[in-house]
């Protein structure tokens, strides 16, 4: 049996770096966008002893003030099945006093601990000297000096795990900081106290509850007094083991004079955010073409070696088309997560939160909603999870609700395909390509939809009192390339295997639906065309036959069935099929179109564009994909909730189906309305 370990500490002090160092790539869950929102775990062994290590979200106190801090609270709860046997408490060497407040709470829980004092190099540069032996005696447990970035002290952390001890520090003295007769308060253990101030009175015994109720003090003030009491004692105790803290030059914040400048701060922010956006497309261009080419080669190869038959068709038109739809995304997703991770790791994201707080407040949000909104450009799933740093539940609900309206990377292939049909890639406007400008405006429309929705929600949702916006601003840091690489790797892997399963399954299902029909309707359709053929070329005949076969298939029947509802938006039944299949995930649209337009065998998007452009309405003979229809379809994909994963994560984060249901109805309604409007005006 592996020994259960947990790693705990304030935010932004290199916990995750240490975690990555200890576990390597043996991790179970990806952490999203730089911060550890969900705890993740990994395993390692020291001299034959196995440890299962959990990285907990950064917290200042064991008493939760936001949903991400609640993860810590629940993990350490008495009835928790994952309750750690040993805790590694990570402390920032430059800010020991405050960091030790958290440690002293762990000590009062009587859990064997090891202290890792991290970022020792930064502290030494500031002239701070820490006597680690003295500190170890003071705290009553092993103390290791580390620099997680360089790996210094890592072996010592590992070897000290066997020497972990319940710390001797005992600072919890409620009778000192609450004006109350001490005899009764002495009965209150720290765990009882934790449950009381952590708003879990049901976990208290009646005697303790009575004592605490009689105090007549709010849990907020009680907590504040506890922290202040710990702080003051620690400040006094630390005097003997630490020196050089008086000077404490304020390093790592120099860039703020520009980043938070009333004018240049905003200019810089705009520049950086646009730069991120531009980089995603510029950098992913080449790898995407490469993957496209490789996949086409692979399909050609299979085409050559496999015997004709149903198995070959399934493999090439179903499975390979599905796989292509998955891996083609990986470059964009990886780059996007990398850049967002870079903004967070460097500390710049906190500045963006401050700069935009004022604006966000106008729509019922705070600067903290910036992370979900920006991450939403990558993927709504981690973005919705990132709302856990928002402590106000009303604000958090609004943020969860509007995040899927931000144009995520899954919309990108849909956009790319459709824009390619709408605007020639040679059209340029100054330094910008016309295609890029159209794409940019689609993102803006999504953003506008999100803002408008938040504004409406803010006006109509019952208002609770606002929670104050308060935020720690971390010093700027050189990005930890290792951390970034780890998280990009984990997320890409999660995408390929989690989303990939769904996409692959749908591709195969779709291939079957498109290839088979009730009875022998497909054979009949083929015979009918062949009987009517007069002076058709072989090519023309083939196209007519495959189109008629598709129409007679199950997919065709389903598309035809919903066609009347789609007509106001200018969509035909083939688009209808794609809307149905891409309900699970938007990117399935492109794969569906490839299957429907029988370009799957070639597997290249250029071919698909040509075939889609050639498609004509059977009655009128007019092109299906006229500009009005393409624009209407683009608008549809901006607004519609075509993502089962988002619905699932909304359910998980809000704790009921009510909100995902509202999201689904609202976004689909919005998409129908806006697309109809666009098509009816432009047709």
């Amino acid at each position: 049996m592996a020994i259960k370990l947990a790693i705990l500490g304030n935010p932004n002090i290199g916990k995750s770096t240490l975690f990555n160092r200890l576990t390597g790539l043996q991790q179970k869950a990806g952490n999203f966008a730089g911060v550890t929102i969900e705890k993740k775990s990994g395993e390692f062994s020291v001299n034959g002893v196995y440890y299962e290590l959990t990285d907990l979200p950064g917290t200042y106190s064991l008493i939760p003030k936001s949903p991400d801090e609640e993860v810590v609270f629940n993990h350490l709860a008495l009835d928790s099945t994952q309750k750690p046997e040993v805790i590694i408490v990570v402390l920032d060497a430059s800010n020991l006093e405050r960091n030790l407040v958290l440690f002293s709470q762990v000590a009062d829980l009587k859990i064997p601990s090891v202290v890792a004092i991290n970022m020792v190099d930064v502290a030494e540069n500031k002239g701070i000297k820490i006597d680690s032996d003295g500190l170890s005696r003071l705290l009553g447990c092993p103390v290791v000096m580390t620099n997680a970035r360089s790996g210094k002290g890592l072996d010592e952390v590992k070897s000290s795990l066997g020497k972990a001890r319940v710390p001797e520090l005992n600072l919890f003295k409620p009778e000192e900081f609450l004006d109350s007769p001490s005899s009764a308060l002495q009965l209150i253990t720290f765990r009882t106290w934790l449950n009381w101030v952590g708003h879990k009175p049901e976990l208290l015994d009646s005697k303790s509850l009575e004592i605490l109720k009689e105090l007549n003090i709010s849990p907020d003030l009680a907590q504040a007094r506890e922290t202040i009491n710990r702080y003051r004692k620690l400040k006094f105790l630390l005097k003997s083991v630490i020196s050089g803290t008086e000077a404490r030059p304020n390093s790592g914040f120099g860039f703020d004079s520009l980043a938070l400048h009333p004018i240049f701060g905003y200019v810089l922010m705009l520049f950086i955010l646009l730069g991120v956006f531009e980089a995603i497309f510029q950098l992913s261009n080449y790898p995407m073409e490469l993957i496209d080419g490789l996949m086409a080669n692979g399909i050609d190869f299979l085409n050559g070696i496999l015997p004709e038959g149903i198995f070959k068709r399934l493999l090439i038109e179903g499975v390979m088309a599905g796989i292509q739809g998955i891996v083609i995304f990986v470059p964009q997703i990886a780059i996007l997560f990398f850049l967002i991770g870079l903004l967070e790791e460097s500390g710049y994201m906190a500045r963006v939160m401050i700069l935009l707080d004022r604006l966000m407040k106008k729509i019922g949000l705070s600067g903290k909603a910036i992370i979900p909104l920006i991450s939403g450009v990558a993927c709504a799933v981690p973005a919705i999870m990132a709302t856990r740093n928002i402590s106000n539940s009303r604000e958090r609900l609004i943020a969860i609700f509007i995040t899927p309206l931000m144009s995520c990377s899954a919309r990108l292939p849909v956009f790319t395909l459709l824009i390619g049909m709408l605007v020639s890639d040679s059209a340029v406007y100054g330094p910008f390509s016309m295609q890029g400008l159209v794409l940019f405006s689609l993102y803006l429309i999504g953003l506008f939809g999100a803002i408008l929705t938040a504004w409406i929600l803010d006006r109509f949702m019952p208002s609770k009192e606002s929670t104050p916006f308060i935020l720690e601003i971390p010093p700027y840091q050189k990005p930890h390339w290792r951390n970034l690489w780890f998280s990009v790797f984990q997320k890409s892997k999660a995408f390929v295997f989690e989303a990939g399963k769904v996409i692959l399954a749908i591709s195969i299902l779709l291939w079957m639906m498109a290839g088979f029909g009730p009875g022998n309707s497909i054979e009949n359709a083929e015979l009918k065309i062949k009987a009517n053929q007069k002076s058709m070329t072989a090519d023309e005949l083939n196209r007519q036959v495959s189109s008629a076969k598709l129409e007679a298939s199950y997919a065709g029947i389903a598309g035809k069935w919903i066609e009347p509802a789609l007509q106001p938006m200018g969509f035909d039944w083939k688009i209808g099929v794609a809307l149905i299949t891409s309900f699970a995930a938007r990117e399935v649209f492109v794969g569906t179109m490839s299957v429907l337009y029988a370009s799957g065998a070639e597997g290249e998007t250029e071919q698909l564009k040509v075939r889609m452009k050639a498609a004509k309405h059977p009655d009128s003979g007019l092109p299906v994909f006229n500009p009005a229809c393409i624009l209407s379809l683009l608008i549809f994909y901006i607004f519609a909730m075509q993502c089962m994963s988002t619905l699932a994560v909304s359910y998980r984060e809000t704790g009921s189906w009510k909100w995902p249901f509202y999201q689904l109805v609202y976004m689909t309604g919005l998409a129908f309305g806006a697309s109809t409007l666009v098509f009816q005006i432009l047709k």
Binding site: N95, D220, Q223, F253, G367, P468, I470
Partner: protein, 76 residues
């Protein structure tokens, strides 16, 4: 005793108390302990958040919350 929101940039003052229910524990968590000296680093325009610093700690609070955070001007 003055309200934090009236202090000009680059001014230093001692934190005394906070009159916003629910904010006391969070301030203490971040190291805003009565008696600690804080410098007003920055004020985001259009009544945006204030940026305060104390040694290695830098935090940001909204101006309307700062109205109810009380400071003592540093006499030293």
């Amino acid at each position: 005793m003055v309200s934090l929101s009236v202090l000009p940039a680059n001014h230093q003052a001692l934190f005394v108390s906070c009159q916003i229910p629910g904010l006391n524990a969070k301030l203490a968590d971040l190291g805003m302990i009565p008696g600690t000296i804080w410098k007003i680093v920055n004020q985001i325009p259009f009544s945006g958040p204030l940026v305060l610093s104390n040694g290695p700690i830098r935090i940001s609070v909204r101006k309307e919350d700062a109205d109810f955070i009380f400071m003592e001007e540093n006499s030293k």
